[in-house]
Symmetry: C2
């Protein structure tokens, strides 16, 4: 079971990270998410990391990378479910999660994605 499933939920994709993201798995995940955005014409990606208890600079970079790649394809990325200890570690390590929006849980993350993608639509209408 070495594949992280990407679930399609309406206009958004949902990814739950439950395993350690070592090199190959992380690169595969990046490629699969970008592929799924294109294939499903998705406007947002929700990444749940509530099962992740240890974060390092590699994991932080992967999340930033996914957000940057998604943005090029006109999709926003929201990371949800971060454990308090992970938030503390991220700040102490000086990892800013550049370009990544965060929300407390999946429901709030969905709301954020909806508002972000709606305002994008409104802007592009101008």
């Amino acid at each position: 079971m070495e594949r992280i499933p990407i679930l399609k939920m309406g206009r958004f994709l949902l990814v739950t990270i439950q395993v350690d993201l070592y090199d190959r798995l992380a690169l595969d995940l990046e490629a699969n998410i970008i592929g799924a955005i294109t294939k499903n014409n998705a406007s947002g990606v929700l990444i749940d990391i509530s099962a992740v208890s240890i974060v390092d600079s590699f994991m932080g970079r992967i999340l930033s990378n996914i957000a940057s790649m998604a943005r090029v394809l006109d999709a926003e990325t929201v990371v949800v479910g971060m454990q308090p200890a992970v938030a503390i570690t991220l700040v102490e390590l000086g990892l800013p999660l550049k370009g990544v929006y965060t929300a407390l849980n999946v429901e709030k993350g969905m709301e954020l994605l909806r508002s972000k993608t709606l305002s994008d639509d409104a802007e592009s209408d101008d």
Copy 2:
């Protein structure tokens, strides 16, 4: 990372199984799902097994157990994303997944849950 996250999405709970369900993890998952149904007053559970490539009688029993326990708490269970090989194995092993509804993917599973829980509401109104 030895905990399978249970995501709340409106009235439903979403669980993605990405790791091998050995004994303790499976029992914890049962307990956590039942706890989450009670806590969130959920009316449905969606279990995604698209990352599961090997199924055995233990896994089949766990899914049936979760469905039976959820039903006692007035919640329906839908298993989605089953790989073709898993479906073949289940039938060849003679495992019926008793009491478990299935759907092709998360979106169809959500629809099924909505229709199941709506018709339950309608029945209880009579």
